[in-house]
Symmetry: C2
Subunit: 712 residues, 2 copies
C-alpha cells in the first residue's frame, strides 16, 4: 500500500516536472476540452476502472485505429492517472480493440457484429484466452473509434464497466454539421467568434484545433461536415481552395468525417467563364462534371454538395425556368460516379408569391417527390418558417416518401439568444422528432422519416468553441440525436452535464433541471403562445415586433403576428392560409382545432380576439402578459439555481455562466417589456393586475440600435 | 532531505489531483502564456531561488499591489513548485514588496527611491531586521508590479538573485499599444485572428483574457492602450460603448494601463447632430468638451485621444481650411482639465500635392512646431513612407524641439510577411532609434528625441495572441524598447528566447542568431537596396512591383521604384525631390552621397543606372539579383537551423514554426522570382550566371489573386 502510494507520488511528480501544472490557471477550465475532459476519477471508481483497463491490445494499424488507441490511452491516462501499457495479447484487465481484420483474434469471439453494420460497435466484457477482458470491436475501423468514445464516456459518467454488453449502431446515416462560414472567416449567425478555418494558412499549416474538432465530432458520431456557408461563394471550388479543403479532409479522415462543400449554382459563370448556369445546358453539365472530377482528385472521399438555390437571393435553376429537381439532378449526375451526394435545401420562399411563407416549401417540393436522382437528399428545416424558438414540425416530413430527407436543425442560437442565453435545444429537437406525422400511418414520428440530420454549427474561434459553456451542450445533443433520434433529451442533458461539470449529484440534478426548462423560458419571453418571427431585422438581436416597413413583407414581424385592435395571430386554418392542410388529416385536425391545438402553437395556427378565453381561465391578452412574465421569472430562477451551485463548479466557469445569466436576465426583461409595450399599443388594454408595466415607453425600445451585433 | 523530497512529492501529487494534467496536450505549449511561462526551474537553480523566496511580505493592499503579490505568488509557485507563504515581517529569504506608504518598514531602508520616479523600482538584496531578504520597492504601486515582473524574469532566465542591486526607471513616459481594431471585431492589418475586444458581451462579461492581456503588457512596461482603429468610428464615443470601454479600463487599471480611444474628427456631425466639425466653431468645441466630460465620468483616468486626420480619407481640420494645430488644440482644450492628452498622427500625405510623399509629413508639421498645446503629442512613424521593411528614419525626429513626439512602430507585420514569416523587428527598431539626428547636435539619436512610443499591436484572438510564436517576440521587444530605447535588440531577443523556449544554450544561441538575421532576410527577398512599397495593392500580400494603374500615384509601386530601361531608384537628392534636405546637414550629406549612403538605403535616395558599379564589384542589376537570392537562401538557412533544434523544443511549437518557415520559404521564393521577372522585363538584362531564373514567367505572378488575404 505504502509502495503504491509512493509510486503514485513519483508518477505525479514526474508529470508535474514534465508538464503544464504551472500554466496560467485561466487555461484550466476554459472549456476547450469540451466533453472530452478526462479529469482524474475519484476513489472507489478509480480502482474499479483501473482493473478493467490494465493494458491495451491492438492489431494491425490504420489511421483510424491508431486514433482510437491513442484516444483510449489519452482517456485512461487522464482518468486513471497512469498510461496503460500496450500488450500483445489478452492479460487480465486488458482492453482489446479492433476489427476482425485488424485483430483476427476478435473474429472467433462470436461477437454480434452482424447487428452493427459498418459504423456500429460492440463492447463486451468477456473472457479472452482465459483472461478477463473488455472487447471493443466493430466491422469498420470507425466503429472501433466510436466504441472507444462510448467506453470512455462510461468512465467519465461513472457507469460500471465490469459487465458490459453493448451493441450500438447509428440510426441515421448522414450526421452532418453545416458551417455557415465565409471565406473571409466571418460566420453567418455565428456567435462564438469567427471561423475556425484559417484559410490563409492552409494547406501548409494544420492548426491542432482541426484535430480536436475532429475528435469532438467523432466522439458524438458526427460523420460529415459542410465547411462553407449555404449562402455560397464559388471561389471555394477553385484549385487554391480545393488544396486547402484537401488538407482539412486529410485531418478529418481518420476520424470518419467526410468533407462537403456548398455549391453556388452560378459557379459555372463566376469561376467557369460560361455565360449560363442553366442545368440543362450541356456545357454547364460538362463543367460540373469536370469540377466534380477535379474535386475528387483532391479529396477522393469527398461527401458531396449542399445547395441553397433560389432562396433569399441565391441563384438557382429557376433563374432558367427549370425546377429544383432539374438543378439537383444535374449536380447529382456529376457526383454520381464518385459516390457523392447532393443535399438540396427545401428552405425556399418567394416574395413575389402571395402564399403564406409557411406553405411555400411544401408547395414547391411535394410535387417533385420521385423526380430526384437517388443520390439527392432534400434538407428540410425542423419547422416551416425559420428556426424560431418554437415551430410546429415541417409538413414535408413524411410527405415525400420517394425522397430521402435530411432534418436541418440550427445549433447556433440565431433566434434563441445568441451565445449568452442559456437554452438547451435538446428539448426542442426531441419535441419535433417525436411528433407523429401520421404518414404513411399513425406511429410514424418525424424521427422515422429522415435519412440524415444536419446541424448548423455553433462553432467558432472562441476558446470554448461554442461561445458559452452551455452552448457546448447543443453541439453535443445534436450529435447524440443524429446518432439516435429517439434518445431522450433529459438523458443527453444529464450525460453532458456529467461530462462537463462532473458527477456530483448536488450539481447534476439542478443543472439538468435548469437545462430542461430553459428553452421554454426563451419561448415565453420572446415568442409565447405560438408567436414567431418577432425579432429585430437583419441581426435578429432583440425584439422588433413593430417592424413592418422592410423590403419584403415576409421579413416583417407584423406579417407574422397580425395584431390589431381586435386580436392577434396567423390564421393558418381552412378559414385562413390553410397551411394546416399540408399535414396528414389527423395532424391537420389537431392543429386546426382550438380544442386540440397546444397553447404553444396557438397563435401559429389561429387568429384570436384579445379577450379569447384560454384553458387557464385567463383572457388571451392576460395569458400573453403572463407568459412573457413567466419567461423572465424562469431566468431569475436559473440565476438563483446557478448561484447556489458555486461550491460545485470551478470559479472560472461559474463566473462566466453567472455573467451570461445576468445578460440573459436583462435581455429577457427587454424582450418582455418591449413586446408588452408594443402589443399594448395595439390591443389598447391595461397590463393585468399583478404584472409590472414595461420599464420604458415603446419608443425607447424602438429607438435602440445595434449595428455591431455579431453574426450578421 | 528525504522529508523534503516526500513533501515535494505530496505537493506534486496534490497539484496533480487538483489540476489539469490530464487536459488535452494541445493546450500545453500553445503559446497562450506568452513570456510569462512560469515552468519549473531545474536544479541547482531551484534551490538557490527557493532560498531567496521563502515568504512574501506585503503591507496595506491596493488593487495594483494585490496584483503584484498575486503575480509573485503565481510565478514562484510555478517556478519553484511550492506556493510561498505570506509573512508579517522579515524572515530569512523573504521578499518584501511595496511602497513606503504601503509597507512603512521600507521607508527607513535608505533605498535609492529618489532615482526611480513614479514608475520605476528598486530591487535589492539586503538585511532587514537582521534577516536576509529581497526588497522590491517603488514610489508608486505600479513600480512594485514592474519590479515583480523584473524579479521573476531573472528567475525565468536563470540570473542570480542573491546579490541584487537594481535601480530601474522607464526612459520614455508614454508606452502605448495602438490597436487597429474595428467595432465589428475585424482588425485592420491584423494577422492573428480578430479583435480580442468582444464588444457585444461587454460590459457584462469580462473575458479572463483581458486580465492576461493586462498582465502581459504590464510585464514589459506598457502603460497605455488605444483600443480602436485610427481609421476611426465615432460610435465608440456613444454611451453604450463608453460603458464597455469603462469595463475594460476597470480590468486594466490595476496593471497601470490607461485606456485611450481614437477620436473621429467628424464625430460631432455623425453622433452629435451638428452640421460641422470645424474646430473653431464654438458649438463643435462645446460638443467635444461635453464629450470629454462624459468620457471621464465613465473612465476617470482616461488617457486621451489618438487622431488620424486628413489622411487616407479620414476627416480633419483641413476640411474646414484649418490646420492640424487647430484641430489638435481644440481636442486638447477639451481634454486639458481632465489631464488627458491628444496624440495627433503626422502620417499625412495628399494625392493632389505633387510633392514626393516621403517629404509631405515634414512639410506639413515642421512649420507647426510650437503651435500645439502642451498636452498634444505628435506621433511620427519610424520612416517617412509607411512601415516598409527598411526605411531611413523619419526627418521629423529632432526637427520639432517645441513639440513632444511619439515614435510609431508597427508591431503587426503588414509589410514583413504577415504572421507566417519569421522576422524579429527588434533590429529594425534599434536601427532607427540609434540613428543620430544631429539635432540639436551630433550625438542625439532618435531614441533621445521622443517622449513616447506607440506600437501598432499584433494581437488577436489566435490562441498564441500574435499569430505565431515568433511574433510574440515583437510585442515583447516593443515593450522593452519603449521602456528603454537604448536597449540592445540582441539582449532583448535572447531574453525573450529564454523566457519562451527555455535556457538550453544549444537552443538559445541559434535561435537568437536566427532572429537577428531574420529582418535582413525579409528586406532582401522583398525590397533590397532601399527599394520600398513594392507589395500588391490593398491587402499587401505578396509582390506587386508592376502595379501602376491604381487610383492614386503614390499607392503605386512604380511610383517608388521608377525603373525603366536605363535604371532604377527614387532620386531624393538635390537633383531630385531633395527629401534629403529635410534632415540635418550632416545626415543629408550622408544620405545624399553615393560614397556614404549605405547600400540598404541606396535606391531610397538615389536613381542609378542598371550597370552602376557597387562596392561589392557587382553591377547594380547583378547586386539586385544577388540580394533577392540571398534573402531566399537565408530563409533556407533558418529552416535548417530550426530543423536541428527539434530535440530542444516541444513538438507542438516545433511543428508550427517549421510549417510557417515552409510558408516563408515558398513566399520568399515567390517574392524573389516575381520581382526579378518584373525588373528583368524592364532592364532587359539576363539573370547573371550562377543565379536561378524565376520559376514562372512574369504573367503568372501578375495573375495571382488573393481576395481573402487577411487584415484587409
Amino acid at each position: 500500500m505504502m509502495r503504491i502510494l509512493v509510486r503514485q507520488l513519483i508518477v505525479a511528480a514526474a508529470l508535474l516536472l514534465a508538464g503544464p501544472v504551472s500554466a496560467a490557471p485561466a487555461a484550466v477550465e476554459d472549456g476547450y476540452d469540451l466533453w472530452l475532459r478526462y479529469r482524474a476519477v475519484e476513489a472507489p471508481w478509480r480502482a474499479r476502472y483501473a482493473s478493467a483497463g490494465t493494458a491495451i491490445v491492438t492489431g494491425a494499424p490504420s489511421p483510424t485505429l491508431d486514433a482510437a488507441a491513442e484516444e483510449l490511452r489519452r482517456g485512461l491516462t487522464g482518468l486513471l492517472g497512469t498510461a496503460p501499457p500496450a500488450a500483445a495479447g489478452a492479460v487480465d484487465g486488458a482492453i482489446l480493440l479492433g476489427t476482425p481484420r485488424s485483430l483476427p483474434r476478435l473474429a472467433s469471439l462470436r461477437l454480434p457484429l452482424g447487428r452493427v453494420g459498418s459504423q456500429g460497435y460492440v463492447i463486451r466484457t468477456m473472457r479472452v484466452d482465459g483472461r478477463r477482458a473488455t472487447v471493443i470491436a466493430a466491422n469498420g475501423d470507425i466503429g472501433v473509434l466510436y466504441g472507444v468514445f462510448d467506453y470512455l464516456r462510461r468512465l467519465q459518467t461513472r457507469q460500471p464497466v465490469d459487465a458490459l454488453d453493448v451493441v450500438e449502431a447509428p440510426k441515421v446515416k448522414l450526421r452532418l454539421l453545416n458551417h455557415w462560414d465565409n471565406l473571409d472567416r466571418t460566420v453567418e449567425r455565428g456567435y462564438a467568434g469567427f471561423s475556425i478555418w484559417d484559410w490563409h494558412k492552409l494547406p501548409a499549416y494544420l492548426d491542432p484545433r482541426y484535430t480536436d474538432y475532429a475528435r469532438a465530432n467523432a466522439s458524438i458520431g458526427i460523420n460529415g461536415t459542410v465547411l462553407t456557408n449555404v449562402n455560397a461563394n464559388a471561389d471555394v471550388l477553385t484549385p487554391p481552395f480545393l488544396e486547402k479543403v484537401a488538407a482539412l479532409a486529410g485531418v478529418f479522415r481518420p476520424y470518419g468525417i467526410q468533407v462537403f462543400l456548398t455549391a453556388r449554382f452560378s459557379a459555372p459563370i463566376e469561376i467557369g467563364g460560361l455565360k449560363t448556369a442553366d442545368p440543362l445546358d450541356p456545357k454547364v453539365r460538362a463543367w460540373w462534371e469536370a469540377k466534380a472530377d477535379e474535386i475528387y482528385r483532391h479529396v477522393p472521399d469527398f461527401g458531396g454538395f449542399l445547395v441553397k438555390a433560389n432562396s433569399e437571393g441565391q441563384p438557382g435553376p429557376q433563374d432558367y425556368d427549370r425546377d429544383h429537381a432539374d438543378g439537383a439532378n444535374m449536380l447529382a449526375d456529376a457526383m454520381k460516379r464518385h459516390g457523392g451526394v447532393v443535399i438540396w435545401r427545401a428552405f425556399v420562399y418567394s416574395n413575389e408569391q402571395p402564399e403564406d411563407r409557411a406553405r411555400q416549401a411544401y408547395s414547391e417540393f411535394k410535387p417533385l417527390d420521385g423526380k430526384f436522382r437517388d443520390n439527392v437528399l432534400v434538407q428540410v428545416k425542423n419547422g416551416p418558417i425559420d428556426f424560431q424558438p418554437r415551430e410546429p414540425f415541417h409538413p414535408l416530413f413524411g410527405a415525400m416518401p420517394e425522397t430521402p430527407l435530411m432534418m436541418e436543425f440550427q445549433i447556433t442560437k440565431e433566434y434563441l439568444g445568441f451565445a449568452t442565453h442559456l437554452a438547451f435545444l435538446g428539448t426542442m429537437w426531441e419535441e419535433v422528432l417525436d411528433e407523429d406525422t401520421y404518414r404513411p400511418q399513425r406511429g410514424t414520428p418525424v424521427a422515422d422519416t429522415i435519412s440524415g440530420m444536419a446541424g448548423v454549427a455553433n462553432i467558432g474561434t472562441d476558446r470554448n468553441w461554442s461561445g458559452s459553456h452551455f452552448d457546448q451542450a447543443n453541439w453535443y445533443a445534436f450529435g447524440r440525436l443524429a446518432w439516435d433520434p429517439h434518445r431522450r433529451a433529459r438523458d443527453i442533458g444529464e450525460e453532458w452535464t456529467r461530462l462537463t461539470f462532473g458527477n456530483n449529484p448536488r450539481l447534476v440534478e439542478p443543472v439538468v433541471d435548469m437545462m430542461m426548462g430553459s428553452r421554454q423560458a426563451v419561448v415565453d419571453y420572446m415568442t409565447p403562445l405560438g408567436l414567431h418571427h418577432l425579432m429585430a431585422t437583419d441581426h435578429h438581436y432583440g425584439p422588433g415586433p413593430w417592424v413592418t416597413n422592410i423590403e419584403r413583407a415576409d421579413w416583417s414581424p407584423t406579417y407574422y403576428h397580425r395584431a390589431d385592435a381586435t386580436g392577434i395571430g396567423f390564421d393558418r386554418t381552412a378559414s385562413g392560409s390553410n397551411a394546416v392542410a399540408q399535414y396528414a388529416p389527423e395532424v391537420s385536425r389537431r392543429f386546426g382545432s382550438l380544442r386540440s391545438v397546444r397553447d404553444d402553437h396557438l397563435l401559429w395556427f389561429h387568429r384570436l380576439r384579445w379577450d379569447h378565453r384560454m384553458l387557464s381561465g385567463r383572457t388571451l391578452w392576460h395569458e400573453l402578459v403572463h407568459r412573457y412574465s413567466r419567461g423572465v421569472a424562469m431566468v431569475a430562477a436559473m440565476q438563483r439555481t446557478w448561484s447556489g451551485l458555486a461550491p460545485y463548479v470551478d470559479a472560472e466557469r461559474h463566473r462566466e455562466v453567472a455573467a451570461f445569466l445576468r445578460i440573459q436576465q436583462r435581455e429577457a426583461q427587454w424582450w418582455r417589456d418591449a413586446s408588452i409595450a408594443y402589443f399594448q399599443s395595439i390591443s389598447r388594454r391595461a397590463v393585468p393586475a399583478g404584472y409590472a408595466p414595461p420599464e420604458h415607453v415603446l419608443d425607447h425600445y424602438k429607438q435602440l440600435s445595434f449595428p455591431y451585433a455579431p453574426g450578421h
